[in-house]
């Protein structure tokens, strides 16, 4: 969703920017409004063209947009990468350059996060081949590769292809993820996507926390039979964070429900007000 962004005066004195053709500079500025509040958007040249160059009549505008993106990529101003087979574009050093007030919920993962997760490959990572963004940009001028670029905006993690498939998907991890998804779907929610984060949290629950597959499955079942926990254990991350609490409560024969709601009494102390101000 397009949003208003700000341009710093340094943009016009940046050597990195000055090396770019004018259209790439404008495409770069346009990209800021194209990406979400996390600085990330789908890396589809057609969508970017439609967002940034809607009235440009030049017949080769799509191709030019592609070239602009490749130049921006070569100048390390943007990162082109993939999450779960979806090509994404991220503006590098986003948080340094844009202070977003009232940010909307992030929709796409930053490349740094994606690179972290790519250590745990998912089957989806290997299904759809990336678009030509992953191949080295052909339009890169030789002199752009070298030279001083101290003004450069991007020295953060650049596009990283998904890690190689040295760890195959694990049966135990898949089983726990699928069970949680099943339970959630059965309770009337939309079936959740089993994401890389799901697999990673589950893997940590099993490996690092020493919980067995059977225990994890039992904890999911127990939580979703409980009127309180069923609304809270919606992801392996939460399951992992609350595992110990769940285990203790299950041992004590379930949660004791607090007294029913009453109208607020007068003359509460500040501590009581503070305490009661949290939704629980």
């Amino acid at each position: 969703m397009a949003r208003i962004r700000s341009i710093k005066p340094e943009f016009f004195t940046s050597l990195t920017i000055a090396e770019l053709p004018l259209s790439a500079r404008l495409t770069f500025i346009g990209l800021w409004t194209y990406v979400d509040d996390n600085g990330v958007g789908p890396a589809d040249a057609r969508l970017i063209r439609a967002a940034i160059w809607p009235l440009e009549e030049a017949p080769d505008i799509l191709q030019r947009t592609r070239e602009d993106l490749q130049r921006l990529h070569a100048a390390r101003l943007i990162a082109l990468y993939e999450v779960s087979g979806r090509p994404l574009v991220a503006v590098n050093s986003w948080s340094e350059h844009q202070k977003v007030s009232h940010p909307r919920k992030n929709r796409f993962m930053r490349p740094e996060e994606a690179a972290e997760l790519a250590k745990y490959p998912t089957p989806e990572d290997f299904q759809s081949p990336p678009e030509d963004y992953q191949s080295p940009p052909e339009t890169l001028r030789p002199e752009q590769g070298a030279g001083s670029r101290e003004q450069g905006a991007g020295n953060r993690g650049d596009a990283e292809p998904p890690a190689s498939a040295d760890d195959p998907p694990r049966a135990d991890v898949e089983r726990v993820c699928r069970h949680l998804a099943d339970v959630l779907e059965k309770s009337g929610s939309k079936r959740p996507m089993i994401t890389a984060k799901w697999r990673n949290d589950t893997r940590l629950l099993l490996d690092r926390d020493g919980v067995t597959t059977e225990q994890a499955l039992a904890a999911i079942d127990w939580a979703h039979a409980d009127s309180f926990w069923t609304a809270h254990i919606l992801s392996p991350g939460k399951l992992r964070a609350k595992y110990e609490t769940l285990r203790r409560q299950a041992m004590n024969g379930g949660r004791k429900h607090a007294a029913g709601p009453q109208t607020t009494e007068r003359n509460l102390t500040d501590e009581e007000i503070e305490d009661a101000s949290h939704f629980a």
Binding site: D275, H278, F279
Partner: protein, 209 residues
């Protein structure tokens, strides 16, 4: 040169907006029940919410004992909020839905007299501001029907970041018994930084305590 057209004159567009603002605030003020019509001193957090201050939360949960002026504060905050919609990010006259929770659930019932519950649900989800007064007054239906309706409203508004203004005489940490766990979990997000406690004596008792 002849005088420029009104559209090109920044001052006239400003006063045009001011006029709209005036009209919208007056129209909203006309909806305020007589008992709550008087402008009162509002809690600082309520003011910054209504004025959409930079740090203010999107939604507000006003709680406190019976009779301290929660409803009055909510109506006046909503009036002030309407006026603030005509600042920089003006997107037309805002639509405000105001409901007492009991009446709200009656109107949403499929058999509601002459009503159109589906249409109403849509309006509750999409209004620019939704004021639900006395949230905890609604009866909890054993089937969880009330809670489901509330979840439909809150979830849709939450994911679109549309503001909700709620008053309740039940503490936030006990509200889950009324609205259910799912809504409570949403409420924790929706009202993050926007929980305001009002205290004082019961005004309806005329000061006799």
């Amino acid at each position: 040169m002849p005088p420029t057209s009104p559209d090109e004159n920044p001052r006239s567009s400003g006063s045009w907006r001011e006029e709209r603002r005036h009209e919208a605030v007056a129209a909203f003020a006309a909806r305020i029940p007589a008992l709550y019509a008087e402008e009162i001193q509002l809690h600082d957090d309520v003011v910054s919410w209504a004025d959409r201050a930079a740090e203010a939360p999107t939604s507000l949960f006003v709680w406190g004992p019976i009779g301290v002026g929660k409803t009055h504060a909510a109506w006046q905050a909503a009036r002030r909020w309407v006026g603030a919609q005509f600042a920089d990010a003006y997107r037309g006259t805002p639509v405000v839905q105001t409901w007492r929770s009991t009446a709200l659930f009656d109107a949403l019932r499929p058999d509601s007299e002459g009503g159109t519950p589906k249409k109403l649900m849509r309006e509750l989800q999409t209004a620019d501001l939704l004021l639900i007064d006395d949230l905890a007054a609604a009866r909890v239906s054993p089937s969880g029907w009330t809670q489901e309706r509330l979840y439909e409203i809150f979830d849709e508004r939450y994911i679109n970041r549309r503001p909700v203004l709620v008053t309740s005489d039940v503490k936030p940490n006990q509200i889950s018994h009324i609205v259910g766990e799912r809504v409570t979990s949403r409420a924790a997000e929706i009202f993050r930084g926007g929980v305001v406690h009002l205290a004082g004596r019961d005004r309806r008792q005329g000061g006799a305590s």
